[in-house]
Symmetry: C2
């Protein structure tokens, strides 16, 4: 199975790249758009496979449409006021719990990272003070090696889905694609421990992306009542046991994660809105905001508790990455020039970074296919390389004399955190490169953002720092540990930002630290292509509103420049993993092809009668993989759509009729409730129908969604795609335009996969040719 | 006409209230939901009328759906790269211009208001210093009277649509309802001058709402190339001459307006997102953000210019309403109690305010119907009443001694702005009520928000202030001048917030000024029901991020409490004006009725043949008011929908055929371009068809939208409504489920009006009865 599916995916990928790389082979005639669409050489295939974690897995679409069958309607009508209140209350309670737990876990991760890294660095510094540099290196690299080992072993052996940032998969989930094992308990626990290990190991990665994933895992687990196999059967939970409410909850989880990462409640909400979520409602804005508010309250309480000295080495570090609220920001019209330059560089570098990361990820995927040991080894090599660079590069830097205005406790420092690290320098001197490298990533950000320190860094040190983090950012991202993209990008961006500030010298009124902030923002916009949310995150991070106008200008420029070259990094990863993500805007050529033509290219649609023989249903379920079937009545009149899960449920419950007749509402109500239909655990293999039962009948009317969204076969794919995405469909019923009694009105049932542009292009190669012309 | 339409509207309103006030008349049987829907006593009427400005006007839906006819497709295919670039560039240029102009106009309004009010107050203060109180009053009340007169005369005589905040109409426009004269040049100019007059007159209203309307007017005028009758025919503009792009531009305009009002760029974007816009895309977030960034840059440049003393009395006042960035905010867990109390009070008072304002607006509507003179008189009476209260109430207050730590320039003050007004007090004393009343509204807000002044206000003064602004807020809102709701609500809210702070005394760590801020926020959330955007506006206004968590808690509580009682103030106004606003969530009972039943209750649908006789088209256009007709081919096969405007265009251009035949693409291309079809100026009265032409034919195929969104007649109204709103439809084609050759497949065409709950309830009274049971 696995080999087979792998080959299928490879074939698909091959086709896509063929299409993309197809060269211009002569121009067609002027009327090429009117050419009959008969040139297709293969049927529209829609293999629901994608890379999840490290292996090709079967992915499933989510049912965001309300399945209006008789049972649902009855239940809806019979719900009492108190049940409605329970429903609303449980949604809010869960949003509260998501915020609370995300806040606690974020606090725990910060506490662990700060303490592990803190004791590690203190021990290393003690060796350096004694000038025992080799021993210091062995301790430094060794502990980093062990920490990486823990993180990597957990990821490789227990939860491959915990590696990486997880944000693309969340994005796909909220778009309507479920990936297996992505939001499970194992994934979450591995992600938490792995993230602590990887960040403590000093690797060039952040805890921000993982926190977003952890928030979503919490939301998913709470929504389904606990981990698989140990679910709570609490009756309040049954009301929210559906894909729509789980989607909303995961949106809350993702926002809470961002909020916990940056202590940025509004930024968290906007991150979900701008980058992650596909559908958005005012009510959701409001609930998401509630979750992030809870996270902030938890974090604030945690910090207050820690200020009493109860948290070991957790002190000024962690959480508040950099607070510029006391810095007076002044800038004038002349400062617009460097700001524009930073924006341009951010856009260029961001898209270049995306481009190179794309190649690196492909390479990484190839290495990953060689097995678990290779993945482990590569993680450990990266760890060793990182440790070596971080420890040895500072020796290249010359010691700089402390500014005499700074008193000894401020310069040089030798503690866990602090600016102006002494490292190998004599008293009264500091090593500027050690200040940036031999510290936690959070402290490195704080140090490079530091204001009123115009002479702290030698230009060469900044260049080394920048180049090092360019390399590290690329090699670290694909390894098998939980890793976020935010921090590497912030580090890289702040380096060139500060370099520009240094180069401007006295020509500018803006502090070098603010240049570093702008550089970080520009690279985030250039690579992730977010604007409003990055702006808000930086606003809440720096706590200084006067920076807002320049930040906005930088973000706008770098996103515009970046968009000229390639899509955002998340979109690149989504595409690379083969997740069928529905874009907001259809491609222009999609208005040249109709859904009828797409349906023709698919296998004929399977229809069932309103009252169908058990044997035929079992047969259809076994021989097809469709998730949904059209139900027709006598004269070819459409009754609606029935889901595979519901058919299986009826088979499992053995609600068979002796003869072909229609049942009443009352009869079905006695045997089924909508709660039965909401459960989706059984597969066709669990069904055990006796031979004599095969000749009996099932009345499907009661289980059929009688109000599916339909389109005429003449609808263009472009318009159908808008409907599909906006309304959140899983199946789109295509109806015939011609009206002949007795024939089936159903032309086809289109799914998400059928509407993906690469599937269409592979089935209709002339469209791809037209694109080239 | 006017009398007739008025009666129709009154009848409709009557029906709605009948339905709402219908008493419980015995319970139906258990199966009432299965009862055949034959009880309806009248057909589904959909009179497209609403209150616009002061009169009942014909409103029109907007075409947000892409009209995929042959001409459109051809144009789309033939667009060159450079044309696409022009399209994108013009969208961005317009967004830039919207921001620029909104910024300039906001600066101008602030400049004018600050100078007019400043000189007025200085003159009044001079009289008071000489103890010539009556002369001072005459000057004060007289100048306010004149300023109100100017504003009211402009509004009443030239642009009734400029009265009020305008935000409900913008909300309706972005939902798909166009109201006449709402976004014209006259309205904008009257709004600008009227707003200056009304705010300078010291009325209890703000320039915030009007600025939002002005921003939208600018956007609309720019989008259509200038005011009606003087439009630029620049060819770049033709690409954005459609309802979709104008919608996006008006969203930018509304955001820019909020941004200009509060100098809050992110708050402006979120205001549009949360409160105003119905559809939202990531790309729009990004463009809106660009506009607000421009506004901020313009405002900053303006303030910098004015700091040089070039702007008369415009100084510290205006724009930056209150900056708390230098205030140290400290609060602990114990402070949660007063915060919760403020939230609860905000919710209760907000919903009470909405309730009373609803009644006041109904009363106002009745007075307005009596004619222009009544409207003028009421405005002037309100002005006199306001002036009397503002001038005379401070005499009730006792003089308080200045805090000796404050040096004389700070206390007492006698200038245009400043805290601790001397008014009628001896030197070294100040009048706390005069500080709040005898000043501009902006200064009043600044003074009541002032921090570190715990003993400044006597409780009785705050009570008087609060009660006065409750009364003024209610009587002022409906009068015929441009008026915003933000400022009255902020004033009221800050009063009770500060009162609670005063009552808490030493029990709390939070400054009284911050209590006032929280009170203002809570009333905004309680009345307008916005959360995230209010939070952002206050965040950017106070420039202090540490307030964020408490603000969030207050907002969440007051919105939740408010929602228990009534909808938001904007929704109340929308409903009152009869604007058919599509809600995000359908009513639950809507799943008990199908679109087929709705269609049956309408007049039979008018269909045209693919090649139709000119005479029949003219006849249909003259005898019906439909905006859209179904086009059928020979055997009852559906070809698509054709718009009234396109039919008229073909008639005007006289593209008639001698006989009934089909035309080719080429033929139609020679006569028409999509630009012709984009223009919507002509009415059927402009059409002049000769008698002999009546017997000729028109081939409608080329102008027909061949891919309308369709639903089956069995679709429930609830689901259809979701489709209608999410996809942004104007017409929904309902198709028959039964398939008989030769009959029309079209059951009906539903519009926005047909889906409004009150129209459905009036056509199906038993549904209303069920609701009562």
């Amino acid at each position: 199975m696995s080999g087979e599916t792998k080959r299928a995916v490879e074939e698909e990928v091959l086709i896509v790249s063929e299409v993309e790389e197809h060269e211009d082979e002569g121009r067609g005639d002027a009327e090429r758009s009117l050419r009959p669409l008969l040139k297709r050489n293969r049927t529209l295939s829609s293999i629901p496979l994608a890379m999840v974690g490290d292996k090709v897995s079967h992915i499933e679409s989510l049912d965001y449409e309300i399945n209006e069958n008789d049972l649902f309607k009855q239940d809806w009508r019979s719900r009492s006021e108190s049940q409605m209140l329970q429903y609303v209350l449980s949604k809010w309670t869960l949003a509260f719990l998501v915020g609370l737990l995300t806040g606690f876990i974020a606090s725990f991760i910060n506490l662990a990272v700060e303490n592990i890294t803190g004791y590690k660095l203190l021990a290393v510094v003690r060796f350096i003070e004694q000038q025992r540099y080799v021993a210091g290196f062995i301790l430094f690299a060794g502990s980093n090696f062990l920490l990486t080992l823990v993180a990597a072993v957990l990821c490789v052996c227990f939860a491959p889905t915990a590696a990486g940032p997880g944000i693309p998969e969340i994005k796909a989930y909220l778009n309507g694609v479920d990936t297996p094992n992505m939001f499970g308990a194992t994934t979450m626990i591995v992600k938490i421990i792995g993230s602590i290990g990887a960040v403590s190991a000093g690797l060039d990665l952040g805890k921000e992306g993982p926190l977003v994933h952890i928030g979503s895992c919490i939301a998913s687990l709470l929504g389904q009542g606990g981990p698989d196999g140990y679910r709570l059967q609490w009756h309040w939970l049954r009301y929210i046991n559906n894909d729509r409410d789980r989607r909303d909850l995961i949106t809350c989880g993702a926002s809470s994660g961002v909020c916990a990462a940056f202590r940025s409640p509004v930024g968290g909400v906007l991150f979900s809105l701008e980058e992650v979520a596909t559908w958005w409602r005012s009510a959701l804005l409001w609930r998401t905001f509630f979750s992030t508010a809870i996270v902030v309250v938890v974090l604030r309480a945690f910090i207050e508790y820690c200020e009493g000295g109860n948290c070991g080495l957790f002190g000024q570090g962690g959480l508040i990455i950099f607070d510029l609220s006391n810095v007076t920001v002044r800038y004038h019209v002349v400062d617009i020039f460097p700001v524009v330059v930073i924006g341009m560089i951010g856009g260029l570098l961001g898209s270049l970074y995306n481009h190179v990361l794309h190649k690196v990820l492909i390479l990484n995927g190839m290495i990953n296919q060689k097995g678990k040991l290779h993945k482990l080894l590569i993680s450990l090599v990266v760890s060793l390389f990182t440790s070596t660079c971080l420890y040895c590069l500072p020796f290249l830097s010359e010691c700089k004399k402390c500014d005499s205005r700074l008193e000894p406790p401020a310069c040089p420092t030798n503690g866990r955190s602090g600016n102006f690290k002494q490292f190998n320098c004599p008293d009264g001197y500091y090593n500027d490169l050690a200040t940036l490298l031999l510290t936690t990533n959070d402290d490195a950000v704080r140090n490079i953002f530091s204001t009123n320190t115009p002479t702290e860094y030698h230009p060469a040190s900044l260049v080394i720092f920048f180049l090092l983090y360019c390399v590290l950012g690329l090699v670290t991202f694909g390894i098998a540990v939980p890793s976020g993209l935010f921090l590497p990008i912030i580090l890289m961006g702040s380096a060139y930002g500060r370099m520009i500030g240094l180069a401007m010298g006295s020509l500018t009124n803006i502090d070098q630290g603010l240049y570093a902030v702008l550089g970080a923002a520009s690279l985030m916009a250039g690579s992730m292509r977010m604007t409003v949310s990055v702006c808000l995150i930086f606003l809440e991070l720096t706590n200084n509103l006067k920076l807002l106008p320049v930040t906005m200008i930088v973000l706008l420029i770098s996103k515009t420049v970046g968009d000229c070259f390639n899509p955002s990094i998340y979109e690149i990863i989504l595409h690379l993993k083969g997740l069928p993500f529905l874009d907001a805007n259809p491609k222009t050529w999609m208005s040249n092809i109709t859904v009828g033509e797409l349906s023709d290219a698919k296998a004929p649609v399977v229809t069932l009668s309103g009252v169908e023989r058990v044997g035929r249903i079992v047969d259809v379920l076994k021989t097809t993989t469709h998730n949904c079937f059209a139900v027709l009545d006598g004269e070819g009149e459409l009754h609606g759509l029935i889901l595979r899960a519901h058919l299986i449920k009826v088979l499992v419950k053995k609600w068979f009729l002796e003869e072909s007749w229609k049942t009443t509402d009352q009869e079905v109500k006695e045997r089924f409730s909508w709660i039965d239909l909401a459960e989706r655990e059984d597969g066709i293999k669990q069904v055990n129908v006796k031979r004599e039962e095969m000749e009996m009948y099932i009345d499907l009317h009661r289980f059929t969604n009688t109000t599916p969204y339909t389109v005429m076969e003449s609808m263009s794919v472009a318009k159908a795609l808008v409907l599909f995405r906006r309304v959140g469909l899983r199946h789109m019923l295509v109806l015939s335009k011609h009206r002949t009694s007795g024939t089936s009105p159903v032309v086809g049932i289109l799914t998400r996969q059928d509407l993906m542009f690469y599937n269409i292009l592979s089935a209709f190669p002339h469209l791809a040719q037209d694109l080239q012309e």
